[in-house]
Structure formats: structure tokens, C-alpha cells
């Protein structure tokens, strides 16, 4: 739509104006020696120089726990609607790619009105990555930069920010940004330099094949010994699922209020690595073995989910699972590279 340049001070004033508006404003902030998305109280706290957040911004489109229905016990249920306008500041390209994938998954087939309503209320201000996190491999997954999904994209070019407005929602926010001028050729060149750099250096782990090759690789790797070798150390804790920006499996539970007459049905994040993920009533577990659960996650990322979203690989290279895994076995690159080494592809 349009590309502008603002000084860092002007951008800060813009964030302050957003906070002063009636919107909920969420941004990346320091949390101990790491970073997290949280409600922003002051523009001062926003850290666009972050490397990676502990949890992905997924929690704003698919919260850890979200009410779907309220009900009267023994009676009618009503849908819960999510109506709060929210601005999400500082979404990195790999996380944006993950949200784009979830938008497809929740709108295709049976339309998930809860996810989609929440998503429509959110304006995403993405930002390009300033420095690589210890385990990022977005460059390997073609998600180091992104060209769609966001309403606004901010790139730090040193003394100022280049701000791209991509949608009407982004344009609406632009009216709060005083001092924005059209980006010059120089500014655009500087932004291109950031993109070129990011496409190369956000690569602490290097995937030995193109991501688009993974479905074909996995077709031949089902019986590979790596599943058992890695899973021997797995605690089935589900941390890899919980920090993943593309994991969207959920559980549904009911809760009755103290009056014992009303209550709500909510969904909450679940994880396919957890022991009882596939257990049915009567205690029959259809995915009892750790290795089978470990393999399932990497098949979902590399083969099953891609089949639902036009071949996009459902691992965006954020590296969070690598950091979160106590047993140090969750690294998708390590597993896929191991498969490359020891699988014969006909």
C-alpha cells in the first residue's frame, strides 16, 4: 500500500498514542534476560531489538485457555464472542508465517468462528529481526523475511524505521503516526540490505535440504531408527508443543461455576507429545509409544499439516523447541538432517 520512514522518537510517540487509544496494545518486552509478548504499559518498554520471545504471539490468536461457550447446567449453551480490538507490536517474520498458516487452518473446512473473530480484531505490526537468537533457523525455512499477513511492517535501518503499511487496518493506525514521510530510495535500499542479511544469518542450524523437500523425505522415513534413538531421552513433557508457533492442537473441557448452575466450556493448548494425547475412554492409548509421539510431531510439521496448507512447511524455524527441550532432542533440523543422511530417496 505505502512505505514510510519515521524517526525512532516518532515511532515511540506513535506507540504511546496507541496505548492511549481504546485498543489493547501488546508488545515485546524484556522478561529477565529473555523476551516476551505482554500488554504494553509504556512505549519505553517496547523492545524491537529482541532476538526471540519465550512464547510465540500465537497466544493472542489461540490463547492458552479460551472460553468457547457458557451454559446453564442441564440447559442451553451460548457462544462466547471475542470483541477486543488488539494491536500486536513486534511480530517477527517467522511468527507471522505461523499465524498465516493458522489463519488458513482455522478458516478452511469447518470455519472456526472463535479463532477467526479474535484474529479479525487483531492488527499486526510485524518487525524484521534485529539479531539472531541462539537457535533460530528461519533462513533455512524461508521465513527470515515475510511479504504478507501483517498490517504494518517495521524495519530498523539504523537511525530510523521504515514502516510499510499493507492493509486498511494498518492504514487506520498510520493516522496516529505523526511525522511519517514517504520512504526514500535510500531507505528502501537500507531495508533491502536488512532483508538480505536476515535471509542469510538467521541460521544457527542449517537444514541440508530445501524445506519443500521434507514431505518427500518423510514419505521414506517412517521406519527410520532416528525416532527411537531420539525418543529414548524424551520426557514426554510437551514443552516442544507448548512453545511452538504452529502447534494448534487443543483439548476441550467444561468448568462449572461456584453457583453449580452455570459454567463454561473452554479449549486449552494440548500437545501430541503428552502421554495421553490419543487415549480414549476405557484407557486405550492409540499412540502409546514415546517414539511414535515424537515422530508424529515431526511428521505433522513436515508432511501432514503441509498437505492442508498448499505445501507450506509447518515449522517456521523459530528454534524455540530447541531451547525448551530439556533432553536436547527436539531440534527439527538435527532430525531432518539425520534422515537426509540415512534415507535413500528413490
Amino acid at each position: 500500500m505505502s512505505v514510510h520512514t519515521v524517526t525512532k522518537e516518532q515511532f515511540k510517540s506513535f506507540v504511546s498514542a496507541l496505548i492511549a487509544s481504546d485498543r489493547r496494545v501488546v508488545g515485546v518486552q524484556a522478561k529477565g534476560d529473555r523476551f516476551a509478548f505482554d500488554d504494553l504499559k509504556s512505549a519505553q518498554d517496547l523492545r524491537l531489538d529482541y532476538d526471540v520471545t519465550i512464547l510465540p504471539p500465537k497466544k493472542y490468536v489461540l490463547p492458552q485457555q479460551e472460553n468457547l461457550l457458557t451454559f446453564q447446567v442441564n440447559g442451553q449453551s451460548q457462544s462466547v464472542c471475542h470483541q477486543q480490538k488488539t494491536v500486536l507490536i513486534g511480530v517477527h517474520p517467522y511468527d507471522m508465517a505461523a499465524i498465516n498458516q493458522m489463519d488458513m487452518l482455522f478458516s478452511q473446512g469447518e470455519y472456526d468462528v472463535h479463532y477467526m473473530n479474535r484474529r479479525k480484531q487483531i492488527t499486526v505490526i510485524a518487525c524484521d529481526v534485529a539479531r539472531p537468537s541462539p537457535n533460530v533457523f528461519a533462513s533455512s525455512m524461508n521465513t527470515a523475511t515475510i511479504d504478507h499477513g501483517y498490517d504494518m511492517l517495521v524495519t530498523n535501518i539504523g537511525s530510523s524505521y521504515v514502516v510499510e503499511v499493507a492493509t486498511d487496518k494498518g492504514k487506520e493506525l498510520l493516522s496516529l503516526m505523526n511525522g511519517a514521510r514517504d520512504a526514500s530510495q535510500n531507505d528502501l535500499g537500507a531495508r533491502k540490505a536488512v532483508w538480505d542479511k536476515n535471509e542469510g544469518w538467521l541460521n544457527q542450524h542449517k537444514l541440508d535440504c530445501k524445506p519443500s523437500f521434507l514431505p518427500k523425505l518423510l514419505e521414506k522415513s517412517y521406519q527410520h531408527p532416528v525416532w527411537e534413538e531420539k525418543a529414548r531421552l524424551c520426557y514426554s513433557c510437551g514443552s516442544c508443543n507448548q512453545v511452538c508457533p504452529t502447534c494448534y492442537c487443543f483439548d476441550v473441557q467444561d468448568e462449572v461455576n461456584w453457583d453449580l448452575k452455570t459454567g463454561c466450556r473452554y479449549r486449552a493448548w494440548d500437545g501430541c507429545l503428552l502421554q495421553n494425547f490419543a487415549t480414549v475412554a476405557g484407557d486405550h492409548n492409540f499412540r502409546k509409544k514415546r517414539a511414535d509421539r515424537f515422530r508424529h510431531r515431526l511428521y505433522r510439521k513436515g508432511k501432514y499439516v503441509p498437505a492442508k496448507i498448499d505445501g507450506q512447511i509447518a515449522c517456521v524455524g523459530c528454534g524455540r523447541c530447541i531451547t525448551a527441550c530439556t533432553a536436547k532432542i527436539a531440534n527439527p533440523v538435527e532430525v531432518y538432517n539425520e534422515l537426509m543422511k540415512r534415507t535413500e530417496i528413490g
Binding site: 468457547l68 457462544s79 469447518e110 472463535h114 477467526m116 476441550v252 475412554a281 486405550h284 501432514y304
Partner: protein, 278 residues
């Protein structure tokens, strides 16, 4: 539904249904006949399932046991989990929530003119009954109908009166067996696979519909392969933890397939290369 949803249906919102009949089929299986509270009837095809919910407890996927040729919806609920335990305590007039019907169907159209063989193990008879009754209500559309029923023990037998009526019919064959002998039983003893040699219809040319506990499939499929039934003539009806019923939550996945949408009824030829299926 509120303004922001703009008339979009909430796929998680159940509709109330009233229990109009209930009876125990054996010690653990409760038969329910439901009617929509709002009037009207459900549109479904044999093989599909519904999500039954009790507000405050949760939801459970339950196979439909009635045929769309009947009025209302019939379910059989085993007392085995938190939701089903509460349903077992419900009386006529009590209400449950229903979402669905969901999932794939038996080949009611493709099987027209062909012989049908139903192989049922235990509670597997419940969803099979939907197609059996449908076929009986459209009797001239199908060839011979054979129903094999295997039950663990005498006391666990389901739909006893109905099976007795089926056995009196000249236009279908019903053969029952129980796994272990019982004083009151003078019929076949042995697992359901032992009945397969008794089938008189031309098996390789029949549509064979299989439903039973996980352990049963392997043996039945082996026996069917031995007598030359092609994989694409066999249908299996699988159980998994269908939590959302709409292909989102991930619990019912078997490799790349979602049992709630691609199943629960699968053509065996579509599953033969899916390692997590059986």
C-alpha cells in the same frame, strides 16, 4: 449469535435433544432414543457420529445406531468415561447437547445391488445397526444381507430382541457367536472370525463392513484377505478421540488422516498403507 459473528455458525455450539426412550441393553450399554428439542429431525447417513455433551461435564463422540429411515436419533452409550457415566444416570425427559452429525458414511449408494456382509465385534454392532436397518428398509436395493456378531460373553450381547427378529427373517442371515461358553447358550462359541467360513454369499464380490474393538481388525482383515476379498470392498469403522469433530483439535489423527472427517468409516484400501490405523 452476536453482531461480530455476522451469522457465522459456531461449530462448537451444541443443540439440545431430549431423551425420549432409554433402556439398558446389557450391564454397561445404555440405549437412548433422542428427539430434537426444537422439533425437526437430524439429517445423517449411516456410519456417522455425533458429539454428545453434558454441560458441566464435557463431550464424547458417539456413533449413531439408528437409520435415517427412522424418526429421531438412537445412540448406545457405554458407561466408561466421565460424560457417559452421567448420561447413564439420566432419565426420560432429561436433555443432552448434540453436535453433528460428523464424519464419513457407509457406502449406501455404491453398495446398491451388491451383497452386504457385516462383521461386528462387541459394541461394533452399534454403528453397523444403522446401515443394517437402512438396508432392511430399502431391502430391494441390496443383494443378500449377512450379519456376523461376536460378543465377548453371553451377558454382554446387545440388541437381543432385535437380533431375534432378524433371525426370523427369510431375507437376511444372522450368525452369532460368543467368545466363551455359557450354560444358557447353545449357539456358536469362538471369536467372530470363526464365523467367516459360514458365510454363504460370494465374499470376494460382497461389500464387507467391519466394526469392533481395535484387536479384532487385524484378525478379521487377515481372514478376509485369505478368502480373497479385495481391500477396496472392505470398510472399517474406527474409534479415536474425536474431541472437536471438525478436523481442528488433532486428537483423532491417524498419520495424515483425521478420523472425524476422513473417517470413521474408511475403505480399507485407503488405510492399508496408514501404519497408525490398525
Amino acid at each position: 449469535m452476536c453482531e461480530c459473528c455476522k451469522g457465522q455458525k459456531d461449530i462448537y455450539l451444541p443443540e439440545l435433544a431430549v431423551i425420549s426412550k432409554r433402556r439398558m441393553l446389557n450391564g454397561t450399554e445404555l440405549f437412548l432414543h433422542l428427539e430434537k428439542e426444537s422439533g425437526g429431525d437430524w439429517q445423517y447417513t449411516p456410519g456417522q457420529f455425533v458429539e454428545v455433551s453434558v454441560a458441566g461435564i464435557g463431550e464424547a463422540p458417539i456413533s449413531i445406531s439408528s437409520s435415517p429411515t427412522q424418526k429421531g436419533l438412537e445412540l448406545v452409550v457405554r458407561n466408561v468415561g466421565s460424560v457417559t457415566k452421567v448420561i447413564h444416570k439420566m432419565e426420560v425427559g432429561h436433555k443432552v447437547g448434540i453436535r453433528g452429525p460428523y464424519g464419513s458414511t457407509y457406502p449406501i449408494e455404491q453398495a446398491k445391488g451388491e451383497d452386504l456382509v457385516f462383521i461386528c465385534g462387541g459394541i461394533g454392532l452399534v454403528p453397523q445397526r444403522s446401515f443394517i436397518r437402512y438396508a432392511l428398509d430399502h431391502r430391494s436395493d441390496y443383494g443378500s444381507i449377512t450379519v456376523l456378531i461376536g460378543t465377548k460373553c453371553y451377558d454382554m450381547r446387545l440388541y437381543r430382541e432385535e437380533i431375534a427378529l432378524w433371525q426370523e427373517r427369510k431375507d437376511m442371515t444372522v450368525i452369532e457367536t460368543i467368545d466363551t461358553a455359557h450354560d444358557c447358550w447353545d449357539g456358536n462359541v469362538g471369536v467372530v472370525t470363526t464365523l467367516i467360513p459360514k458365510i454363504e454369499s460370494d465374499l470376494p464380490k460382497s461389500r464387507v463392513l467391519v466394526c469392533g474393538p481395535p484387536v479384532m481388525y487385524k484378525f478379521v482383515l487377515m481372514a478376509l484377505a485369505e478368502v480373497g476379498v479385495p481391500d477396496d470392498q472392505i470398510y472399517v469403522n474406527l474409534e479415536r478421540r474425536m474431541k472437536c469433530g471438525v478436523g481442528k483439535c488433532g486428537h483423532c489423527q491417524i498419520n495424515d488422516k483425521y478420523v472425524c472427517q476422513d473417517g470413521p468409516v474408511f475403505r480399507w484400501s485407503d488405510l492399508a498403507t496408514v501404519p497408525e490405523a490398525i
